[in-house]
């Protein structure tokens, strides 16, 4: 199992320093003790049973739109 593996998961519930997250229909309870202000409906990166950071949906959109530009530019070549 890749040692630095971290996957994006959506926060469904928060109870103190634990949260239930979901990825592709799979749910797991993880610790959010490494983060402040995690919100239900937000996205986090999960590693070894911990949320290690929040995922910024705005930044993700920007990266994806950069990909679309690159793919479009390639068609011109």
């Amino acid at each position: 199992m890749p040692m630095c593996l971290g996957v994006p998961a959506k926060v469904l519930e928060i109870r103190d320093s634990a949260a239930v997250v979901e990825l592709g229909g799979v749910r797991r309870e993880i610790s959010v003790m490494l983060l402040d202000d995690v919100s239900v409906g937000g996205w986090v990166i999960v590693h070894a049973g911990f949320a290690i950071e929040k995922l910024s949906e705005d930044e993700a959109r920007e990266t994806l739109s950069l990909f679309r530009e690159i793919a479009a530019a390639d068609e011109i070549h």
Binding site: P2, C4, G6, H47, A48, F50, I52, L55, E59
Partner: protein
Amino acid sequence: MRYINEFRDPATARALVERIRRDAGDAPVRLMEVCGTHTVAIARGGIRPLLSGAVTMLSGPGCPVCVTPDGYIDAAIALGMERGVLLASFGDMLRVPGKSSSLEKEKGNGLEVRVVYSPLDAVALADAVPDREVVFLGVGFETTAPAIGGAIRTAARRGVRNFSVLSSVRTIPEAMGILAADPEVRIEGFLCPAHVSVVIGTDAYRAVAERRRIPCVVAGFEPLDILLGISMLLRQRKAGVALVENEYSRVATSTGNRKAQELIREIFVPCDTGWRGIGVIPGSGLRIADAYAAFDAERKFGVPVVFAAEGTACRCGDVLKGKITPPGCPLFGKACVPEEPYGPCMVSSEGSCAAYYKYGAL
């Protein structure tokens, strides 16, 4: 799956490969992916052959299992076999060879090892068996250090006294500095780890970029992340600059996760530590702080982890430093294969040799 599938789009991948090829020079550009998870992602994505001629990817020492000294495995076996400890570990550690045996082989002799997904599972295990000592094999880089620290702090707060950690935590930037300074290695750009960077912040690579004049790009683990990261490195090189850029901006930030860093500072103390195949790298390790000595298995049980330089036919060290690719080791694919690994690069699922062997045949 959201935020995963979109980063695997084949059409964009094709476009990025074209872009990389256009930006490459006459000779293949030598880039190093530092992190073992990148090594596996690149191998599973079949990316190396896609870029052949344009880019040579060197695999660096970011495989925490690979760089853990064989003395660590021996100490873990001793804890289990001589002291009756119940070991809890990430799955990757089971087949790593120690001096004469491995955890997996010793299971046949009665060694008790439980595979866990999280260090917190090991604390829960200790809580459930109060009459046994439970030791978690805490191997990893800065991505995992907060998780290990979190487990120790949780155990401390809950009074789980039969839990401790045999720590083998290393830090990435110092190792990058050693490699960047090695004239035999000749790295023209670093693809920096995604999740280590999430914890320590992308600014951590500025010293390497500025002092060594080597471009650094922090990239995610999906195929498009890796290809875009490589493309950004080539563009920096073309522009004659050496900066730290962040492809993984959706998660990694310049300053990193402050709370995780504070936890690391609370539980751990930096130290000099040995990397299997490389040697001692100053300031590249994290040992458990005195305040948490009760949770440090080395001190609790008096089993010091000994680091000794190995003199064998195995060229793992040169592979880890990116000096040779796996086929350059005389043992690769012959005396050293995944079923009977000679060295750690072949054993760990993230080792360069294992990745090359499993995915690289064309």
